[in-house]
């Protein structure tokens, strides 16, 4: 009995009971569709969390001064100033896993324009910070350059919150002079809206200026509060932070026995935490969907048993005209697999559609992954074989004499 004949016989048998075949399929359809939709929702939310973190700079690494010991008492992290332009230069020169390095010198103060004023933070950075480390597009104007850094130019970029408070009338701030404390600064560009970060801080409440301007003109210091570094990609943050430690220890001339006088923080841990949470969510959703697939499989088994009992005489007849046990087994198995695979295909289509609908109507992020489609399809094919096998085997072991006379 070749495969095409098997398929024909199975199709014929299913055609004789279209509604029943469809209802049996429905179990599988719902199972597969829910696996795909649930995984898509789980993956989607996971990805959106990761993107949020990426926007914060998930490959960002922050170097700060470490705590210090003074007279036996440990002091706060950052209580000492150890980071200088030499560290920045050393990192820029030696590091291989880094795409950008920027010093960070920041302070709070009052920004004033006309009769409006607003308390905000000014961050002194280099141009790479805006472009590479934070990947922060400009809304208007231009960014400052390395020449502005060298010249300690009194230029700045405004965040959207600052603009909203200093320019409530909606006039274009580019080209205007604002004052930060007592220092007048030319607004050369505006930063696009970034929104709140994962911790609820308003990222747009910021003014950015060349670090030399902030460091020398406002703070009058040679130290930086932090150095911001960007690893080449998210996966190389571990190597990058190890490399940073080496370079920083050399730059600070620490002996092997000395503790680090700086601390390296990566955002990767943050991402891992969020990923772990949403992975749990995905597992949970998948488990629920998997259970519904199992229920669908039991439905197949049930119907196949009914089908075998109902068609006992047919089986007897087929055996009497020359069907072997294996032929009968394959016939019923093909039917079961046909139900589950057809159900699986419809389920895949329905799952993808419902994931898209969820995105469209509820604007939940969804991500349809190939593995969820392949996996659920395989699972339902296996379900067909697994749950179809026992009824099919029962059919193949019938005694033709008894089957023929079965009432």
């Amino acid at each position: 009995m070749n495969f095409i004949n098997l398929l024909r016989i199975a199709l014929k048998a299913l055609q004789r009971n279209k509604l029943r075949a469809f209802l049996t399929m429905l179990g599988i359809i719902i199972g597969v569709a829910s696996v795909i939709a649930m995984v898509a929702i789980g993956q989607g939310s996971k990805q959106s969390i990761q993107q949020q973190l990426s926007g914060m700079g998930s490959n960002m690494i922050i170097i700060r001064p470490n705590s210090n010991i003074a007279a036996g008492a440990r002091l706060d992290a950052g209580s000492v100033q150890t980071l200088t332009i030499d560290d920045v230069n050393a990192l820029q020169k030696k590091a291989t896993h880094l795409s950008a390095v920027s010093p960070m010198s920041q302070t709070k103060g009052q920004a004033i324009y006309g009769n409006n004023n607003w308390p905000t933070t000014i961050q002194g950075v280099n141009p790479q910070y805006v472009e590479i480390i934070r990947q922060w597009p400009l809304k208007d104007g231009v960014t400052f350059t390395d020449r502005d850094v060298q010249a300690m130019s009194k230029v700045c970029l405004l965040g959207q919150t600052v603009i909203a408070n200093l320019f409530p009338g909606g006039e274009n701030p580019v080209g205007k002079y604002i004052r930060f404390g007592k220092i007048p600064m030319l607004v050369i560009g505006t930063l696009s809206q970034k929104g709140e970060n994962a911790f609820g801080q308003d990222q747009d409440d910021v003014i950015m200026a060349p670090y030399t301007t902030v460091q020398k003109r406002i703070l009058s210091t040679i130290y930086f509060q932090q150095i911001y570094v960007s690893a080449r990609d998210e996966n190389s943050t571990d190597e990058a932070s190890a490399e940073i430690s080496d370079i920083m220890r050399t730059s600070h001339r620490l002996k092997p026995t000395d503790d680090d006088d700086f601390a390296v923080r990566t955002m990767q841990e943050l991402i891992n935490t969020f990923s772990a949470t949403s992975s749990l969510l995905t597992i949970l959703l998948t488990a629920i969907a998997g259970i519904s697939l199992l229920v669908g499989g039991i439905g197949i088994m049930n119907i196949m048993y009914v089908s075998v009992t109902e068609r006992t005489r047919e089986i007897g007849l087929r055996m009497s005209i020359g069907a072997r046990g294996i032929d009968i087994l394959m016939q019923f198995l093909t039917e079961a697999i046909l139900i589950s695979i057809t159900g699986g295909l419809i389920g895949v289509a329905l799952g993808i559609t419902s994931a898209k609908l969820v995105t469209y109507f509820l604007s939940w992020p969804t991500l349809i992954t190939e593995y969820s489609i392949v996996l659920s399809f395989l699972v339902c094919a296996v379900t067909g074989v697994f749950f179809g096998y026992y009824p099919a085997q029962k059919a193949s072991r019938l005694d033709p004499i008894e089957a023929l006379r079965y009432e």
């Binding site: 004789r16 047919e314 007849l317 055996m319 005209i321 020359g322 072997r324 046990g325 033709p400």
Partner: protein
């Protein structure tokens, strides 16, 4: 044309029913040569059904040898028996056993599906020819519930013929039919036997039906009681013709479009 199709030697069959042993066949021996039309008669409990199952390779004897077309059935396994049934035997059952909601053509094709050597086109051609041979050439696409009992049985006979078996084995093939349809089926079988040389073994309990065959074996208590050729063999065609005419009926064998007044049989469950 006297080669032996069937050779039975001291066939015994015992069943174990709990503690008791039921001896259904107690040593049955006979031969059937090619071209014979044999009826096996016997009242219920005579071992008729057991013998039929044995002849049809559905069951194996407890002892004794059974040669079907020269093959010793006793030595074969389940799958080989299935193959033997497929190639050498055409079954016709009392309750037709056609697949419901399946066309006559597809029902007749069924045995060929289990024979890998036959292509789809060949299968179709042979099934069509078999249906034409039983005068149902114009009913290929009819499903069993669109056919009368007699027509359904003729589809079943076509299904038995399609594999060109060495023997047609009929089990009370007229049992569900009224006498007119019965005679028409018998006329068809006689035609197949006499004009095409088909060997037919027909199990029945009706002496009336047995009189159409060339030889009758009567079983009693699991033994052959009587084995004799029929001297006054009747022709089913003539009997049919002698029946009072009925305006909605035409003899099946004579007219190609013979359809109509046969009583609708029960559909197989």
């Amino acid at each position: 044309m006297s080669n032996k199709i069937l050779e039975l030697r001291e066939i015994k069959r015992e069943f174990r029913m709990g503690a008791e042993v039921v001896r259904a066949l107690k040593g049955v021996s006979f031969d059937v040569v090619s071209g014979e039309f044999l009826t096996i008669m016997g009242s219920s409990g005579s071992g008729k059904t057991t013998l039929l199952n044995t002849l049809g390779c559905l069951d194996k004897p407890s002892s004794g040898t059974y040669l079907l077309d020269g093959v010793d059935v006793g030595t074969l396994g389940r799958n080989e028996l299935a193959r033997l049934r497929n190639l050498k035997i055409g079954f016709v059952f009392q309750s037709y056993n056609l697949l419901p909601r399946t066309s006559a053509l597809e029902n007749v094709e069924l045995p060929l599906l289990y024979n890998k050597a036959i292509s789809a086109k060949d299968r179709r051609d042979r099934a069509t020819r078999a249906l034409q041979a039983v005068n149902l050439g114009d009913r290929l696409d009819h499903t069993p519930n669109q056919l009368s009992g007699g027509q359904q049985q003729r589809v079943a006979i076509a299904r038995a013929l399609v594999n060109e078996p060495v023997m047609i084995l009929a089990d009370e093939a007229t049992g569900n039919l009224d006498s007119r349809s019965s005679y028409s089926i018998m006329a068809l079988l006689q035609d197949l036997n006499q004009n095409q040389g088909k060997t037919i073994v027909f199990v029945t309990h009706e002496p009336d039906i047995a009189s159409f065959s060339s030889r009758t074996i009567t079983l009693r208590d699991g033994k052959v009681m009587k084995d004799s050729p029929n001297e006054n063999r009747r022709s089913a065609k003539e009997v049919l013709a002698a029946l009072p005419p009925s305006d909605d009926y035409l003899p099946a064998v004579e007219g190609a479009g013979a359809v109509g007044g046969e009583t609708k049989g029960n559909e197989p469950k």
